[in-house]
């Protein structure tokens, strides 16, 4: 039996999947736009969450991690998968530790921990302020080991152009391969596989500038979407509260800066012209600490972002009257800061020219993460309380243990698979786990969890599902050839329309992208309203028209980056439309999605997953709502102990440690 798996994407999710699948003895073809070691995951700074012994002895548990994640996501995430992920988390840290990740250590040699948003316990493991880089290197090394043994074949500098589907005996469709293009030679080729794992990350580029890498266009997901794969919760876009504005990118200042004691403030008086250091304590407005005494500066991202936005845009209290607030670490020992946060402080110093150990940083929110993504399903595990429990009281005994299989059924082929059999989605491109808002340091976890836990699902699908009867080798050649030639024609059409000399802003892909980014950021991020969203939808219509007439500024048949960029922009428009339409249809406020015209959460109508589909005939997006698995914990108001809300203040359990 000669099964093969295609993994598209070599970030944390794709590498974890490749290693897990290769380990099970199935050869893997791994595709990536860049050498996998340079994938976007290297940017992750702060850390990765998991229950640990110290936190456990203070009253924390895997169950509380689960509960926090559900609450943080404002009850939009399906609950069983989150339970399994939280239960698995400590095993993932152990594994990474065995792979040699240089996690920071305590004086006794144990793994050190830090505080992160949305938790009162230290449960974030970290390697300096370059955790993502260290984790991806560890997985890259394991993948290289399998590559040397011939079990993983890398296709780096190859772009995924679309999935290949075949009709199934049962009447449905299944995924039997991909079409890709070599970014050097521009060769378009079809690849056979028995299953395909999409692990292509986020879509920050839809918003123009973001904290993401320049390759995070979301085009790969868009291509699946346009081929008929459903997309979940597109409107849930996380805007990170603290980034450095820049000409090419909005560089992140990790939440760990606040986890390590960073304080956010503005001068109490408008347009205070004094330097930060000259403003006395009493004349500083620590607005997060005042409004959220329990969580203070480590409230979740959506809350911090809206508060900063409100301070700057509505109240005009931003530093110097502009759009920025202080993120202050100057009260901490500079040496301690270098040890714990060196990586990110260097970024600030390098790009801004100010040493954040001596002067407070100036930051502003930026688009950061997509909770939404390809819509996937799962198979529930063994734990099924008769009715959902009430919110876990921090520090109290968990109602259950953390054995494998309580949340999701381990190895079931139905885990994290899209509506097309054999097509899986792992990592940021998967809509699961984070609901309406992702907690800091939970993304790296979900990426690796998907790869390791659901990698086995892929293997079992091939063993027992359709590929066991009709392996890829028996699928007709015409299936691949027609998919390939369709992409070849698209490529040639774009090349044929290359501009030769003339410049026209209307049909210039770079200009269209810039305008799209500005429009999406203005209409679909921190605050949304029906009128503005409708306007955005109609602008997207204009962009679609302009893209139909796009002229690539390069006619070369070799390494034509402009052509690839233009093609990606065209595909991104479908995701942009889904983000906008989802935002319109979700007439409530939840997590990262805040509507000025519907400021309250509406569980009766909208504790539901937004499922977007591409209507190929009408060339437009349609949206419907599907039930959320809320069977484990019952929703409560998500206030994080905000003062005006008058809710009881949660107590940090032994937070001094």
């Amino acid at each position: 039996m000669s099964h093969r798996v295609i993994v598209v994407g070599g970030g944390l999710a794709g590498l974890a999947a490749s290693v897990r699948i290769a380990e099970a003895g199935v050869p893997v073809d791994l595709f990536s736009l860049v050498p996998v070691k340079r994938s976007h995951s290297v940017c992750a700074q702060g850390g990765i969450n998991a229950c640990n012994e110290v936190a456990r002895q203070q009253g924390y548990s895997e169950y509380e991690h689960f509960d926090e994640t559900i609450y943080g996501g404002d009850y939009l995430a399906d609950q069983h998968p989150v339970l399994e992920m939280a239960n698995w988390a400590p095993r993932i840290i152990d594994l990474l530790d065995r792979m040699g990740v240089p996690f920071n250590r305590t004086s006794e040699g144990y793994r050190d921990l830090r505080l992160f948003g949305g938790s009162l316990f230290k449960r974030t493991h970290f390697a300096g302020a370059t955790t993502g880089q260290q984790l991806i290197y560890a997985l890259d090394e394991q993948a290289r080991r399998y590559e040397a043994e011939g079990k993983i074949t890398k296709y780096e500098y190859w772009e995924f152009l679309g999935p290949v589907f075949a009709d199934d005996a049962g009447g449905g469709r299944r995924c039997v391969g991909v079409v890709g293009q070599d970014l050097r030679t521009m060769q378009v080729r079809a690849f056979r596989g028995d299953a395909v794992v999409m692990a292509t990350g986020g879509n920050g580029l839809v918003f123009g500038k973001s904290t993401n890498s320049i390759i995070c266009t979301g085009a790969a997901a868009a291509r699946c979407f346009k081929a008929g794969v459903a997309y979940g919760n597109p409107e849930m876009i996380q805007v990170h509260p603290t980034a450095i504005p820049g000409a090419d990118k909005l560089r992140l200042m990790s939440e760990s800066a606040r986890g390590e004691g960073g304080r956010v403030w503005v001068p109490r008086t408008k347009n205070d012209a004094r330097r930060a250091s000259e403003i006395p304590e009493a004349e500083r407005f620590y607005f997060l600490e005042e409004k959220y005494p329990a969580y203070g500066n480590i409230v979740p991202r959506d809350i911090a972002t809206r508060e900063i936005f409100d301070i700057c845009v509505n109240q005009g209290l931003g530093v110097g009257g502009g759009n920025s607030v202080y993120l202050d670490l100057t009260h901490k020992d500079p040496e301690y800061l270098t040890r714990k946060l060196g990586g990110i402080l260097d970024i600030y110093e390098k790009f801004v020219g100010v040493d954040p150990r001596r002067e407070p940083m100036q930051i502003f929110p930026a688009v950061h993460y997509s909770m939404g993504g390809l819509h996937t399903t799962f198979v529930k595990g063994r734990y099924n309380p008769g009715e959902p429990l009430s919110k876990h009281v921090s520090g109290s005994a968990p109602p259950l243990g953390s054995e494998v299989g309580l949340g999701m059924s381990y190895g079931d082929p139905g885990n994290m698979v899209t509506n097309v059999a054999g097509l899986y989605a792992f990592g940021e491109v998967n809509f699961a786990y984070h609901g309406a808002n992702r907690l800091g340091a939970n993304a790296l976890l979900s990426c690796i969890f998907d790869g390791l836990f659901c990698g086995l699902s892929v293997v079992n699908y091939m063993k027992n599902g359709a590929p066991s009867k009709t392996p890829h080798g028996q699928v007709g050649a015409s299936v691949y050839e027609s998919a390939r030639s369709a992409e070849q024609s698209k490529y040639e059409a774009l090349l044929g329309a290359a501009s030769r000399g003339e410049a026209d802003e209307k049909t210039n892909p770079y200009v269209i992208h810039r305008e799209l980014g500005a429009e999406m950021t203005a209409a679909c991020t921190v605050v949304k309203s029906e009128g503005r969203l409708r306007e955005c939808l109609s602008r997207i219509g204009d962009f679609k028209e302009r893209m139909a007439r796009v002229r690539v500024p390069d006619a070369a048949g070799w390494s034509n980056q402009s052509l690839c960029f233009a093609r990606a922009v065209g595909d991104m428009l479908s995701v942009a439309e889904a983000v906008c339409l989802g935002s319109i249809e979700r007439k409530e406020s939840r997590g990262a999605h805040y509507r000025t015209d519907f400021p309250e959460r509406d569980d009766a109508n909208f504790m539901k997953t937004t499922v977007a589909r591409w209507d190929a005939t009408g060339q437009r997006v349609t949206v419907e709502f599907a039930p959320v698995d809320g069977s484990l914990v019952r929703p409560t108001a998500r206030t994080y102990g905000k003062k005006e809300a008058g809710a009881g203040q949660p107590k940090p359990a032994m937070s001094g440690v």
């Binding site: 290693v19 860049v34 050498p35 340079r38 976007h40 290297v42 940017c43 152990d94 594994l95 530790d97 065995r98 792979m99 040699g100 920071n104 250590r105 004086s107 144990y110 370059t130 880089q133 260290q134 090394e141 394991q142 080991r145 050097r184 450095i244 504005p245 820049g246 000409a247 090419d248 990118k249 560089r251 004094r274 330097r275 930060a276 250091s277 845009v313 530093v319 110097g320 759009n323 920025s324 990586g343 970024i347 790009f351 801004v352 020219g353 100010v354 002067e359 407070p360 100036q362 502003f364 770079y510 810039r514 203005a522 209409a523 921190v526 605050v527 500024p553 070799w558 390494s559 402009s562």
Partner: protein, 288 residues
């Protein structure tokens, strides 16, 4: 109205400004036009040519944002319309290594190369060239596969038993962690190879196994030899570094350590591996 424009150039507001950065930044002329000289090449085997572009420097701009500006309107100073420049990039915060190129004659990352530092005055010029030790794909984009191949040569991984749940890894002291972390920050950018007189262009993959491996892979070998489990392959790593193209090919010019953006202690690693190789060779000789 939902206005959502970040302040241009953070640090310029009321509180910022003392400027820990280099000296040029303080005297950069706002709104100036600079010249960007780019060495272009349409593909392997094609001749190179120079093109010069005039670009208006925005607040906080770097080489990447300048190349982006050129891409959206690729017209040379002679007024000739050309193609956008092709180059490699990813993170835009000096952590992925992709955007490495030779700028004003020195190899470095282009994303962290600030225009205010390099061209502070009206009409100042910046020169961009591809790295010379790797084959050019097109323009500033080079093929660095050899660099990853060299990581396989030294088995730069920890040979774990598998992904099963087998408990934590070996405990280590903060000092050990700090040593390994410093080595582990290497982003395989290749600056150290570009600067090394012993590392030369080699387009034939068949010759990669015996041509000089370079400081980057030597240092990674040390990283894995330092790990309690990684040490299991120490002998194999040293064998690989003993033969042709191994550590003894290093001429000790120390250029590598001077250009490493991550301040990896490369000469220390070369010395440590050199010693380990000697010990290993003697031991092997005694074993017969």
């Amino acid at each position: 109205m939902l206005n959502f424009t970040p302040a241009a150039g953070a640090g310029s507001g009321a509180g910022g400004g003392s400027g820990a950065g280099g000296g040029n930044r303080a005297r950069a002329v706002p709104g100036r036009t600079i010249r960007v000289r780019v060495k272009r090449c349409e593909g392997p085997g094609k001749a190179s040519r120079w093109e010069v572009f005039a670009v208006k420097a925005e607040a906080g701009s770097n080489v990447i944002s300048v190349l982006q500006q050129i891409a959206s309107n690729p017209v040379t100073v002679e007024g000739e319309r050309t193609t956008p420049v092709v180059w490699d990039s990813g993170c835009l915060e000096e952590v992925c290594g992709a955007c490495t190129m030779v700028i004003n004659g020195r190899v470095r990352q282009s994303c962290s190369c600030l225009i205010d530092e390099y061209a502070p005055g009206e009409g100042d010029e910046i020169t961009l060239e591809p790295m010379s030790k790797f084959p050019v794909v097109r323009d500033l984009w080079v093929d660095r596969s050899r660099l990853f191949h060299n990581l396989s040569r030294v088995k730069a991984w920890v040979p774990i038993d598998g992904t099963y749940n087998l408990g934590p890894g070996p405990r280590e002291t903060p000092a050990q962690q700090e040593t390994r972390y410093a080595l582990s920050e290497c982003m395989s950018c290749g600056c150290c190879l570009e600067a090394c007189p012993q590392f030369t262009l080699e387009e034939d993959p068949k010759a990669w196994g015996t041509s000089f491996i370079g400081a980057h892979a030597i240092s990674q070998a040390r990283l894995f030899n330092e790990h309690a489990t990684g040490r299991a392959l120490k002998g194999e790593r040293l064998e690989a570094l003993m033969g042709p193209g191994g550590v003894s090919d290093c001429g000790n010019a120390q250029n590598c350590v001077k250009v490493c953006p991550k301040h990896i202690p490369l000469t220390e690693s070369i010395a440590a591996i050199g010693r380990a190789v000697t010990i290993h060779a003697v031991a092997r000789w005694f074993r017969g």
